[in-house]
Symmetry: C2
Subunit: 145 residues, 2 copies
């Protein structure tokens, strides 16, 4: 199995609401068939799809809440963390943790999308965010961010 | 907010077991501090971290099971789907859905890692997987895969 990931699908209960939120971040959807919305995020795709359909398709049982997966968006400075959190709040997200210094030596906060999916927004000075948007672990990367 | 994703963190209850599974897929971890394991997946990082710590860090309440997020790994042919599912089973994963034709015109199956996180393994003839491992939505992409 090659060491890569193609797609992250977020199960949603209200597709229009979820799409409005991600569009509100300034993101542009790709061509998407009825009932699903795709965003091309660099070399990975983010999909929004009905949560009950995704549950059945994935062969799992929905615990109904958060299930142990958190996404992250890294930026180049602490100031950008605060800017993205403000943008997410303006788009209808909830800021669960304001930007602040972290135990691992960076700066981060968390927003939660209208469907309950958390995104950490982080500046990790040990990692590199390239001009074309890739995030690269340096040799001594630090946790969760 | 730039249209990209940096990191997917999977909460785990047994880090050694989880790492053994992903290492068993043939993946090589990056430099990782104590208590976390990072895998560089193209331009995105996959992290394994204690689920209770991730819950607290993310400002959410753990529903205890699956929470509406499914990852996917796309490959170039139906045969490769079956090969990856066999590899995941050999590494200690559970195959929740054997490879088969899908309603959206592709071929896919699902494995679940030892921590309960599902991965769809898919051949989507409408999408492109590039030589360097990026997955690109074509104009008329199809759902979930």
């Amino acid at each position: 199995m090659q060491q890569r990931m193609s797609l992250v699908t977020l199960g949603v209960r209200d597709l229009d609401r979820a799409r409005a939120f991600y569009d509100g971040l300034g993101w542009q959807p790709a061509g998407s068939p009825e009932g699903v919305v795709f965003y091309q995020l660099g070399g990975v795709v983010l999909a929004l799809w009905e949560r009950a359909a995704l549950e059945a398709d994935s062969g799992v049982t929905d615990g109904g809440g958060w299930g142990g997966v958190t996404l992250a968006h890294n930026v180049g400075s602490p100031e950008e963390v605060d800017e993205v959190l403000a943008q997410a709040r303006a788009a209808g997200g909830t800021v669960a943790r304001e930007g602040a210094a972290t135990f691992w030596g960076g700066y981060s906060g968390v927003f939660i999308d209208p469907e309950g999916h958390p995104w950490e927004v982080a500046h990790n000075p040990y990692w590199e965010v390239t001009e074309d948007g890739r995030t690269l672990v340096e040799g001594t990367g630090e946790p969760a961010g």
